[in-house]
Symmetry: C2
Subunit: 422 residues, 2 copies
């Protein structure tokens, strides 16, 4: 157990020292039961890249999936039963408390007057179903996808005020015929597991397991959880359920005529498959999965262990960084600046950490950039000013290639677009 | 006034008919004083593209700006004075009301126990200053950038519970020396105005004007507003203020030693420039700005007016759509499907509206795609199966070019990356 705690705390320190997170709150509780952390420049780019890949895989390449964006606060009366988070204007509150008369009555009415914050992206998609089933000419199956922040109630009894947590979720709500829903659940589970494994250094740490929802001892929904094996146990990154048509009917108050589609001979209400990913936990899983310890030095020499964050090329927050040596001249800095602008124009994210490169040696910089997961380091020195030649060091091979500065952009563009890297 | 209302309602209908918004709530109130609307597939891609361009221009190409991501709920005691939105667990609330004793006391304490929802991205950046000023080795100026949803209090007196609004904001908080702060304010105003105009069809509709913050009759902050001239008046898309160091000191409770940086001979607390854009209003501005009425037909014929949504190539939600004619064969559909996958692999967003192309004529589809702002339509017909040739129709010129289906991806990649289109 102490091994695990050590493991976790050294991970935390590594990620906050290398701009993935801002404070050292990055731990299991943060991701699983509490708020997503404050991300630094690298963490937020990594999360953005994961979201973008999710979107490309689930939405962009599928004619049957449409992207939507719905409000975080839900006004409709369909939620509000049970325990919800309300967005309350603090002054309305104290205004009522200051009214001497009738305040009990006003207070009891109050929760109904306020917006409920979403705890998942399901409700927004269920509400939009009626609009989009017309858009697709009542042809099923189709899906509505959305990514965004959701709020989760604190654990523990409601008597203790706790902080609700924030989680970045990615959601697909898939509408299909009752007859095919079971097959679609399996289809999406397979698809999603493949997707998580595609960007992994150790795909076997990602797995799936069956789950179900029970209500009063009866199984009401079949589900599949996609898990990542952390050192402290498996955590669900994404959960899929076949929830039937009950919640769709509830949302639209049983208004059958707007819900039905023409499936085969008779009109039926579609069944709903929910696919819901926790992207903050996904960030932690990929960070953990990508950290490799590389042994260096021959047997005769003392062995040295180098830590490299081998994030997948399409997830790595920054593809390029610079090493222009200590005490770089103004001219060298201008060369770097020019190359930075060229790379950004070509949509290649470049770490602009000039402040480090002038105070660290090449070896120190390599160690640093490797732990940050930067794919390539461009080494520019005074020779570059004359010859135009630079070294390009690879994170994964530690090999340096010499090339002309004018070739870097096209080399990197090709590397990033190569089929094995996307 | 009635002209304006007509103008607005026809815009609303156009945008909701063409998948930019879901309901017809897209109006001035929605964007300026109330929640951002529910976006359809096109609206959400447009907003995403605007945010991406903002990020590229403000963050990626500048070594001095770091991107961060902070929680939506603020726990610290630095906010909470004045009117704030609290995230309240409805059950904690009713639990307290059901306790017969001491509930008044518990109720009055309650607002302090809950998280305050952010109304802007300023607070998060001010809190992170202490961390990042060390990262940049205390070298000023530098900036912290973040994009995300913020919540705004309803207008009107607090006695009337109203719905708070949600706005997608893009924020840069720039820390600089007191001596240079006035110049930096002007620098960023100039830079931001140029950026808004860069993607505009009619740049002159974007302008700027001076503003200020007054407290008790004294001018406490100088500011500049970037405005868009809507038919119903000018609205601020982005606002810049020179807020000095007061709020930075407040956030860190006047802890001078952590705030100061070494500027010139003595240690000083930096001044803060805030640059804050309303991206939902930006979506509306670009939609309005890009809608062009093109006259067609020679003088002798009856003139016909065609509406084209000429969104900038880098903002257009979808670059390509298909026309495979009515009653397309299965083989043609497979050709489209294959091309769609190829384009998505090349990161070219493609409208997957198969359901329309089989029920509309080419002329109807052209009208539809022009109003959706799709840059190119690939016309595939039975001849394509034999020759491999397709027509590529341009939204902006209405001209059709013939090319081989294998050339489309590289043609579009080059078009999108051309300097005049980025």
């Amino acid at each position: 157990a102490s091994d695990k705690a050590d493991h976790l705390s050294s991970l935390q320190k590594l990620f906050s020292d290398h701009y993935y997170t801002v404070d050292e709150q990055l731990n299991r509780d943060n991701f699983v039961h509490s708020s997503s952390p404050s991300y630094g420049p690298l963490g937020m780019e990594l999360r953005k890249n994961i979201l973008e890949q999710w979107w490309r895989s689930v939405v962009m390449s599928r004619p049957q999936v449409l992207g939507i964006s719905t409000p975080h606060g839900i006004k409709s009366g369909t939620v509000g039963q049970g325990r919800t988070l309300k967005l309350v204007d603090a002054e309305v509150f104290s205004h009522i408390l200051n009214e001497k008369k009738l305040y009990m009555e006003a207070l009891q009415k109050l929760p109904q007057d306020f917006v409920s914050m979403r705890t998942s992206l399901l409700q927004g998609a269920l509400e939009q179903y009626v609009h989009f089933v017309k858009v697709v000419n009542k042809k099923l199956p189709f899906g509505l996808a959305e990514t965004g922040l959701c709020y989760q109630l604190p654990e523990g009894p409601p008597a203790v005020p706790g902080y609700p947590s924030e989680v970045m979720q990615a959601s697909l709500v898939w509408f299909c015929s009752p007859r095919t829903s079971s097959q679609w659940l399996d289809y999406w589970a397979r698809h999603r597991l493949q997707w998580w494994r595609k960007f992994a250094l150790e795909p076997s740490n990602f797995s799936c397991s069956d789950t179900e929802v029970e209500e009063k001892g009866n199984k009401v929904a079949r589900g599949i959880r996609l898990l990542y094996q952390f050192p402290w146990g498996a955590e669900p990154l994404e959960t899929l359920y076949n929830i039937g048509n009950k919640e769709l009917l509830q949302t639209h108050k049983g208004n059958l005529s707007t819900l039905q589609y023409t499936g085969g001979k008779k009109s039926v209400v579609p069944h709903v498959i929910t696919v819901n990913g926790n992207i903050d936990l996904g960030v932690l899983a990929y960070l953990h999965n990508s950290l490799q310890e590389v042994k260096e030095g021959s047997n005769r020499q003392k062995q040295h262990i180098r830590k490299v964050l081998k994030l997948h090329p399409s997830l790595a927050p920054f593809k390029v960084a610079f090493d222009m040596g200590r005490r770089a001249s103004m001219e060298l800095q201008q060369v770097c600046e020019g190359l930075l602008q060229e790379l950004v124009q070509g949509n290649i994210s470049t770490w602009p950490g000039y402040w480090e490169t002038t105070s660290l040696s090449t070896e120190q910089l390599n160690i640093r950039y490797d732990k940050m997961g930067v794919l390539f380091t461009v080494v520019i020195n005074s020779g570059t000013l004359e010859s135009g030649l630079v070294h390009l060091r690879s994170r994964d091979t530690a090999v340096k290639e010499t090339m002309h500065i004018s070739e870097i952009k096209s080399f990197l563009t090709k590397y990033i677009a190569a089929p094995e890297n996307i």
